[in-house]
């Protein structure tokens, strides 16, 4: 059974149809690539799946624990609480906060004390703070950011900011992780490291990963299955070899023969 099924999803911005009639299925522990030329509607699709946009039509059904739930049009924070996390194409860290606080904020949804307990500093508050501190430290260690815990997020080098975004998304304890162009702006060596990292977190946290990427070396190397979008429509899906040879995909990227 698929953990995420997208059924005839459509998004119109006025007269512009950004996504039309998209059908997708994502299984447990899969690594999926979502590719397509610029303006194909990849990020729009992500934004609908994570609740930033409300779909014009169609359903998004999640099934993490045997129960089917339609999450189309739900608020982003509700969707995150259900187990879907994301990173952003243009990095959106909490820049003036420390690396540790960035991760702790993502853990807030599971915090066990309420506002009054925080203001009156009850024992529960300290117990929870200790737990969060410990878990955040462990997570940062896994992502090799443990030496930067007290640094401001804005002071990290670019590659580490990307990694922190992934760490922060993982801190929400997701079952499905969306990465929006994780390798954008990286050099080949950094991209290679990122490829390893994504593979590693997928195994380590037992999650499904969906990523948008323009770097074909990363996509072909990493993804088990690929969906291709062009002009808002799904034009192909399959494993990397099939996609590389698919005439419609080649046409979308390189244009048709005369």
């Amino acid at each position: 059974m698929a953990i995420l099924s997208v059924k005839s999803l459509t998004k119109n911005f006025g007269g512009l149809c950004a996504n039309s009639n998209i059908n997708m299925e994502i299984e447990k522990d899969e690594l999926i690539g979502l590719i397509g030329p610029n303006g194909a509607g990849k990020t729009t699709l992500f934004n609908m799946l994570t609740g930033v946009y409300e779909p014009s039509e169609g359903q998004i059904v999640i099934n993490f624990d045997g129960k089917e739930k339609d999450i189309a049009g739900k608020k982003p924070y509700v969707i995150t609480k259900m187990g879907i996390a994301r990173t952003f194409q243009n990095i959106r860290l909490f820049k003036d906060l420390t690396v540790l606080d960035n991760v702790k904020i993502a853990m807030h949804k599971d915090v066990q004390y309420n506002l009054l307990q925080a203001i009156f500093r009850t024992p529960k508050f300290f117990k929870e703070e200790e737990r969060m501190e410990k878990e955040a430290n462990e997570l940062l260690k896994i992502l090799k950011l443990d030496t930067k815990i007290g640094e401001l997020a804005s002071n990290l080098p670019y590659g580490e900011q990307r990694r922190l975004e992934i760490a922060r998304a993982l801190a929400t304890n997701p079952k499905l992780l969306f990465l929006d162009e994780p390798a954008a702006g990286m050099n080949p060596q950094e991209t290679a490291e990122l490829t390893e990292l994504i593979r590693f977190i997928k195994e380590k946290f037992e999650i499904s990963v969906v990523l948008i990427e323009h770097d074909m070396s990363l996509v072909m190397n990493l993804c088990e299955r690929i969906y291709v979008l062009d002009y808002g429509k799904l034009i192909a899906s399959g494993n990397p070899e099939e996609i590389a040879q698919n005439p419609r995909v080649i046409e979308a990227y390189l244009g048709e023969e005369i």
Partner: protein
Amino acid sequence: MKHLFTKKNLMWLLFGALICIAMYFVFGVVTQKWQKTLITAAYYIIGALGLNLIIGVSGQFSLGHAGFIAIGAYSVGVVFQGDATLANFALGIAIGVVITCAVALIIAVPTFRLRGDYLAIATLGFSEIIRIAIQNMKITGGASGLSYLSFENINDHGMFLMMLITIVLSILLIVNFVKSSHGRATISVREDEIASEAMGVNTTKYKTIAFLIGASLAAIAGAYVGPMNFFIKPGDFGFQKSIDVLVIVVLGGMGSLSGTVIAGIFIAVINTLLQNYSDIRMILYAIILVTTMIFRPKGLFGNKEITDIFSKKRKEAE
């Protein structure tokens, strides 16, 4: 318990207590003019701490503080038409906070769809609505306001002590809120609302919570206006009052509580000093503000606290 009575907390307790005791004694020896200055400073500090929570921590630009101060002032004013006792003062504050929370909630629902300048204008509008509503109600004495509001058996010195305690409690409330998971969630709204929501933070909820706490502190500050000036009238709570409080927050540094306290004292002292030059008072006031902002564009303290200086020193010592 072991967490509450750490060496650091005890040190701060001692530090805070010493400052309060010192201020209390200073109040006893200075002239009446400076007593008035200290009381005004304390009143502005309480209000500005609340506004700093709204602007500096949750990042929502509100110009509606005068409205909430008015609600607090009039709640106490109306209750004081009976007896001006301490018990009635507490009752007035309680009523003021309840009304303020209700009004703030009504304001929050439509306005928190707005951002930045638009939110400022909308809150400003609501503040004026509150003022005009008060002006047209019978119980509040209309445009002429309410008078004879000084405490029956508490002198200025006693009131100043009450204000000091209020400031300490407000700082404790804000610090405990900000340094909790809920506070971090609120700060994340200021940093990046979209990312915050994507990380599972209900942004509207935390914006509203910060707004309610901030507005309540404004009402508590307002409660002291009556006993301070002996009378209140709607004209005292025009939008100029919101600006006065805003100036303190910006001057002290958005997000810095120590900055707010220092800036509150700074402004009150400047105002008193400039009283002797009434002709050019506003010009000098403006020049001082402009120069301060040129040399400290992020406010006197930026987003730092006094405590940061100490912890940095300790780190270097290690």
